[in-house]
Symmetry: C2
């Protein structure tokens, strides 16, 4: 029987975020990426969403390593939660990614939890767990991203990570199309490929075009320049700082995550920023507005971020005023649009002109479009393709692209989280399904908030809660005090609450008259009586919690 390799995506398929893929042979498994995602509206009160580690818990003795393709949260953010719970001998990543991850593990007190090993994208193949691995530089919106090549007993797998084909990246490290072509010549059995922008035709513009936009916009401006972007977009910041230098502005870096990332990138040589150009945010007051550029967090309208606080005049060091220019150099992640619009309106009210990606070329995507995906498939000529990283529509669009380029339809696998994709003798098929849901982080709790709690939160959020407290007792256990009704989040309803008390009292009396005395039944009757009354009167269905106290 031929050797088998199993590919098991635990996150990132059918969704954007929490990317995590297991590659497993009979001699052990490695995990590519350990990402998190951010809660959706319906995840009320949840702080973070992690992949479900159930499968890894079951196979904990087989885990040999985690390989990280780059340092974005949706690829590394779940690592502390994984290491906290499951022993992983090795974590592999490129230098910048390791720098970011070390700082993250440090915050969680986990820096000793695994051996951190550096990937050299130009180096010779290395053994990671049961596989010989090599790496290919890929351009992305964070430096030092790589694709992973795994030689497995059942064939060669290439996992692209996130990428675009940027022939003029800011750091000069292009997507290594030569190495991809070489791999194509050597033979690729399975390609796992980023699907994010598969629906978008053509090619994503180079990161350098954003620098050109900065150069076109900034020299003419008189007031402060503020630029908000993702804290990890090191090259965006580098380009902004270069334009500041050219236009005689000093640069303040505002926002904790941005300061941290820029420090790490400078220390590791990924940014070239002289100390002279930087100014402390608290010293901004000593410079005229036209002598300053402020790089800040808040491009997603996050409530506590620097830019949002500036928009609401709530920032200690930065005041935005008439004549200032704010550049939001990012695209709202779906779901954040309204918050970003609120920030834009707030800044405009203060007198700033706000340039954003809808009206100026101040942002480009970090993901390649359809033509770039076709190029990668053409270079690698994989025998099988499995679209990863993306919603179902994006996976499907990538499948269409692969067919266009000549990959037969039966060699394209649309898997979902938890699919067991088995490769054997060059043939790839889905042979099973493992548990792969979501794990919510809420406050300090990981995994204790589940669907029932969220359903209750949704119910509470719709129409609030009515609590009916009834007391029964007395000599024969049959005396009733008029119940109390407490409403929260319901609306102004004094007379209705009085009616509800009477309805509850009547329901209780009827029960006792019929010899119904079991607390559960009494509560049910009160619930139904009050629910019906409230719905008739208001059309609403608040959560109704009857409490019967026996004395």
């Amino acid at each position: 029987m031929a050797d088998s390799t199993r590919i098991i995506p635990l996150g990132g398929l059918g969704e954007i975020g929490k990317n995590m893929t297991v590659i497993e042979s009979d001699d052990g498994l490695v995990i590519i990426d350990a990402g998190l995602s951010f809660p959706r509206d319906e995840h009320l009160g949840v702080d973070l969403v992690l992949p479900d580690f159930s499968y890894l818990r079951e196979r904990r003795d087989e885990i040999r390593a985690v390989i990280l393709t780059h340092g974005h949260e949706d690829h590394v953010g779940a690592l502390p939660y994984l290491l906290r719970e499951i022993q992983v001998p090795e974590v592999w990543a490129t230098r910048l990614t390791l720098g970011l991850v070390k700082s993250k593990l440090d915050e969680h007190g986990l820096v000793q939890a695994a051996e951190l090993l550096e990937i050299d994208p130009e180096g010779a193949p290395v053994a990671i767990g049961p596989f010989m691995c090599e790496f290919v530089r890929m351009a992305h919106s964070i430096p030092d991203a790589v694709a992973v090549v795994l030689d497995t007993p059942a064939g060669r797998i290439v996992h692209t990570g996130d990428y675009k084909i940027d022939h003029t990246p800011v750091d000069g490290f292009r997507t290594d199309v030569g190495k991809l072509a070489d791999l194509g010549n050597r033979g690729v059995d399975l390609l796992l490929s980023d699907s994010t922008n598969a629906e978008r035709p053509g090619v994503t513009p180079s990161e350098r075009t954003v620098g050109e936009a900065f150069r076109a916009i900034i020299p003419q401006r008189k007031g402060r320049i503020l630029i908000a972007s993702f804290a990890s977009n090191v090259h965006r910041m580098q380009q902004a700082i270069e334009v500041a230098a050219e236009t005689g502005r000093r640069v303040a870096i505002v926002g904790r995550s941005l300061r941290k990332n820029i420090n790490i990138a400078r220390n590791l040589g990924y940014m070239d920023v002289s100390d002279d150009i930087l100014v402390k945010p608290s010293d901004l007051g000593e410079l005229r507005p036209e002598e300053t550029m402020i790089l800040c967090t808040g491009s997603q309208g996050e409530p506590m971020s620097a830019l949002t606080r500036m928009a609401y005049r709530d920032h200690s060091n930065v005041t935005v005023s008439e004549g200032d220019t704010v550049i939001i150099s990012a695209k709202p992640v779906p779901g954040n649009e309204l918050r970003v619009h609120d920030t834009i309106n707030g800044l405009t009210r203060l007198g700033a002109e706000v340039l954003h990606q809808e009206i100026a070329p101040v942002h480009v995507s970090g993901h390649g479009n359809a033509e770039e995906m076709r190029t990668v498939i053409a270079l690698l000529r994989p025998r099988n393709v499995m679209p990863v990283h993306g919603e179902f529509r994006m996976q499907t669009a990538q499948a269409r692209l692969a067919r266009d380029v000549g990959v037969p339809g039966d060699r394209i696998v649309i898997a979902e989280n938890g699919s067991v994709v088995e490769m054997r003798a060059g043939i790839v098929r889905i042979t099973g399904q493992v548990e792969a849901g979501v794990t919510f982080v809420d406050g300090l709790g990981v995994g204790d908030v589940r669907d029932v709690a969220l359903r209750d939160r949704r119910h509470l959020s719709e129409d609030g809660v009515l609590i009916v407290v009834a007391t029964i007792g007395g000599r024969n256990g049959r005396e009733i005090e008029t119940p109390d009704v407490i409403a929260r989040g319901f609306g102004e309803a004094g007379p209705l609450l009085e009616e509800a008390r009477i309805a509850a009292e009547r329901a209780l009396a009827e029960c006792l008259a019929e010899e119904i005395v079991e607390l559960k039944l009494l509560q049910e009757h009160i619930h139904d009586a009050v629910a019906q009354l409230v719905h008739e009167r208001t059309g609403r269905r608040p959560m109704i919690l009857p409490v019967v106290v026996e004395v």
Copy 2:
């Protein structure tokens, strides 16, 4: 002293939606539009948002008429709520708008509440309240939209309503640029102008380009064609039906609001659809997929809409399957993006190809872009401009456009909801502020849900609720039963709830030992003890409701 006219926007400024503007002289007032808006995420459980009618309540004896510029919900949706509460002698609108409004008032049992009078855009000026009014045809994404011209004692006002300059509209009724130019020659003192797309450069494409896209896409397709759009976009539907006729498809109309609007539009002659081409949704099964086109609601991913139900295989008459093509001919309203994406993914899973505005030219805006606004200002040459209909950033962008075209900065008024904008001797300035907040509709209740209830709903939605029920009493009023703790929406926390009971009991005992017996104080102590414990253990802050029952 010169005559004065006051313009008081009660909705639609600093926001998208609930448009409503009062134009008032000493002899009475008219109201232009009575729109609603849809709740934002933070308006938990709210169904609709209305303008605040406080000012109109105070001035109810002065109200002479409502003038409606067109039939969209954000311009007419609040009318039933207004008429229900306040006597308005006349409602003026064009024929299609009246048709839509009649049907709406009928549903609310209000069709007799005001005299409905038809606007003839080509007709002679008419007296409405204290003003002589005439109207100008404007193209928009619903037929029969008009601008309103009011001759007031203090000068001539033009209110554009929503518009684009479409030189090739589907019905042939162009924006009447000739009449605008004529008004410019006669003199315009104040322009109130739609700001929605003021940030977007250039010109919005003609509605006809969507028909061209349909013609490019549909003939090649083999399976079912489904097209989702706004139910009021009569010309979009007309164009789709024409392409169906050309390609031998019969058309089913699915979705209550769409059926209603198409019926009204056909009856009034705004659509030209022969009975032969229509097929009942329940008869679709008798046709092959390639013989059908389905027009449906659900372009915003609304949970109960036709397209959403089809995406989840939950529609009684329409099944979507491999080879079908779905065209979402609309743009997600900000805030609806994720729901629309979910719908697209669901339909893709069923095998359909989904074309939407991000990847195909299947939608155009109903609002003009910057160049169209410049054109209107150039035609009207107003002495003063007041941007309306739009968020603050859009109003500001329109102000910039007006300055570009030569309107002096001190003749441009950026007002907000409730501003009293006074025009006197050709000079316009803000002279006051009236109450102009929001009114929430929640179920059957109008206005009873306010900020406190929403704040409570938000609190409940974040971390749920813990209810602590304690009983004190006995011979000396000092006996305590171990309190009960009920949690909803909190998470799995058995042991913690046990700790909470103990903490509550201890807090109670301490109070009684210190002779604290007042219920309010007891509840406060219990609240604080439990809140602190829960926050320490979980990092969460659920709503804590202590109930102390004295027996």
